[in-house]
């Protein structure tokens, strides 16, 4: 039975999640140098174009068509059989296509997150091929294992409410792998460039926070109490994490920064994503306060120590925050919040923590290896990196023949 309220909420949520990709474009675009801002906006927007089509043609089927195996089935290619009646195994009160388009928005933003790692040095053509292959061979299988009917991680009881493993750890590990094998930006000379437009970063963060209500509360797939819980804990965790990052900076560097508050808020949103449908507001505060500690250490201590150039900290925020969120779900999950979920370690069920650990481990190993293989293939046929001169001139001019800001007139 289709429910009007549920359908309206899922459609609105789909639009909210779509908005997160342009939001991410500004979040990342503000952080790069002015000569590369259009390249980042372009990568985000072309992903919206390319993966929207990919999703309808093959992505949805290989992710969600029921099957036991590497991918989902192929019976839903081109949306054959994906109609306007509910498909009750996924969502009993909304049209099947509403579920499909909601999930499609997740498939779009996930590869867009990786952009932060290879920003300012990747060839546009190589980026396009890499993204298509990654959506097909990494996102598709993983979404199937965790969320699809017959998926093996789903069957062993791994909890991932809105995409902590499938979206954030997945993209974050791919980010680390590409940052390492792509190498540092050559023009740095041991000098890390400052963000060229901090207000863009703040604008992007605000829109991400807003869109995340669709991401998490929409994942209830109904306009019900569970959606409200997800909404409340999402806002609470983001707030706690933004505050926490500012306090860490205040103690550590003497002054809090708006960049810090934004980084913290995004880290908090990442961390609460897998937990949103299983934890209460007090747990959300703890999850939010702690995620900024972990991510702050990752970007200020771990990154400089190992020397990989994760330009915009896609790994440091999304993977580290995502791992904490997935494990925190295993600690703080409570059947009092969601009877269909499970209890975590702190509610008397240590086994859930181990299941979460397994899901995290599988994601890291699978995504790490396959991303490396895809990268090598693309590098062999196209060459992933732009030449040194193009990098010095900036990707806006060399990859797209346009520039963001005029100086005269």
């Amino acid at each position: 039975m289709i429910n009007a309220g549920d359908t309206a909420w899922v459609l609105i949520s789909s639009a909210l999640v779509l908005l997160m990709t342009p939001a991410l474009a500004f979040f990342y675009g503000g952080m790069v140098r002015r000569k590369n801002v259009l390249s980042v906006l372009m990568q985000c927007f072309i992903i919206m174009c390319v993966l929207s089509i990919h999703w309808v043609l093959i992505g949805y089927s290989i992710s969600f068509a029921p099957a036991k195996g590497f991918w989902g089935g192929l019976q839903w290619l081109g949306l054959r059989g994906v109609g306007l009646e509910p498909y009750t195994d996924y969502a009993g009160t909304i049209p099947h296509q509403a579920f499909m388009i909601f999930q499609g928005m997740f498939a779009i933003i996930t590869p867009a997150l990786i952009i932060g790692a290879f920003a300012e040095r990747m060839k546009f053509s190589a980026f396009l091929v890499f993204t298509l292959l990654w959506a097909t061979f990494v996102y598709g299988p993983l979404a199937h294992w965790v969320w699809g009917m017959g998926g093996w991680l789903r069957n062993i009881g791994a909890l991932d409410f809105a995409g902590g493993t499938v979206v954030h750890i997945n993209a974050g590990i791919a980010a680390l792998v590409t940052a390492i094998i792509l190498g540092k930006r050559t023009t740095l000379n041991n000098h890390i460039p400052s963000p060229h437009n901090m207000p863009f970063v703040v604008l992007g963060t605000g829109l991400l926070w807003f869109g995340w209500f669709g991401f998490n509360a929409g994942s209830a797939l109904a306009a019900n109490g569970l959606a409200v819980n997800a909404f409340v804990v999402t806002n609470t965790a983001a707030a706690a994490a933004g505050l926490s990052w500012a306090l860490i900076e205040w103690i550590h560097n003497g002054k809090p920064t708006i960049f810090g508050v934004c980084s913290g808020a995004v880290a908090g949103l990442v961390a609460i994503t897998p937990a949103a449908g299983f934890v209460n507001a007090i747990s959300a505060i703890v999850i939010g306060l702690l995620v900024s500690v972990f991510c702050f250490i990752a970007v200020t201590v771990v990154k400089p120590k190992f020397g990989y150039d994760d330009s915009l900290d896609a790994f440091g925020v999304h993977c580290v925050g995502g791992i904490w969120g997935a494990l925190a779900t295993g600690l703080f999950a409570s059947k009092a919040v969601n009877a269909a979920g499970a209890d975590g370690l702190f509610f008397g069920n240590p086994k859930q923590f181990l299941v979460q650990l397994l899901a995290v481990g599988v994601t890291i190993v699978y995504t790490g290896i396959v991303t490396l293989v895809i990268y090598k293939i693309v590098d062999l046929f196209i060459g992933v990196r732009v030449d040194e001169k193009s990098e010095a001139m900036g990707l806006d001019l060399t990859q797209h023949h346009e520039r963001a800001y005029t100086v005269l007139e």
């Binding site: 890390i192 400052s194 963000p195 900076e249 560097n253 810090g260 200020t300 400089p304």
Partner: protein, 113 residues
């Protein structure tokens, strides 16, 4: 003729302009520039990454004057720009070989004012 180049604090520009008007010096060119002096600029933090020696925003004035206006111009700039703290800036005075007013094709001293 002299070309006077002054680097001043951005927030003193209005005062300097006022002092120049009082001294009847009306022709100035202003640009935004970056620089630092002995204090080596400011320290900035981005996601905990420390950037020292960042350049500070300054205003650069260019004023071409006839010789009898040189001292009044310098005095006016000093009066407007001086706060007594570090970073107040500098005034450079250069000899100016020629000056052309494009509209009338006048040259030299008559073209300046």
């Amino acid at each position: 003729m002299k070309l006077i180049i002054a680097i001043i604090q951005p927030h003193r520009l209005e005062e300097v302009k006022e002092e120049l008007y009082k001294a009847e010096i009306n022709l100035i060119t202003v640009s935004e520039v970056l620089g630092h002096g002995r204090q080596k600029g400011v320290t900035e933090f981005y996601r905990g990454h420390k950037e020292t020696g960042n350049l500070l925003r300054k205003i650069r004035l260019e004023i071409a004057v006839n010789d009898n206006f040189t001292e009044p111009t310098i005095k006016a700039i000093m009066k407007g720009a001086k706060t007594g703290s570090t970073g107040d800036g500098k005034i450079f005075v250069l000899d100016l070989k020629d000056c052309v007013r494009i509209r009338t094709e006048e040259r030299g001293a008559t073209a300046i004012g």
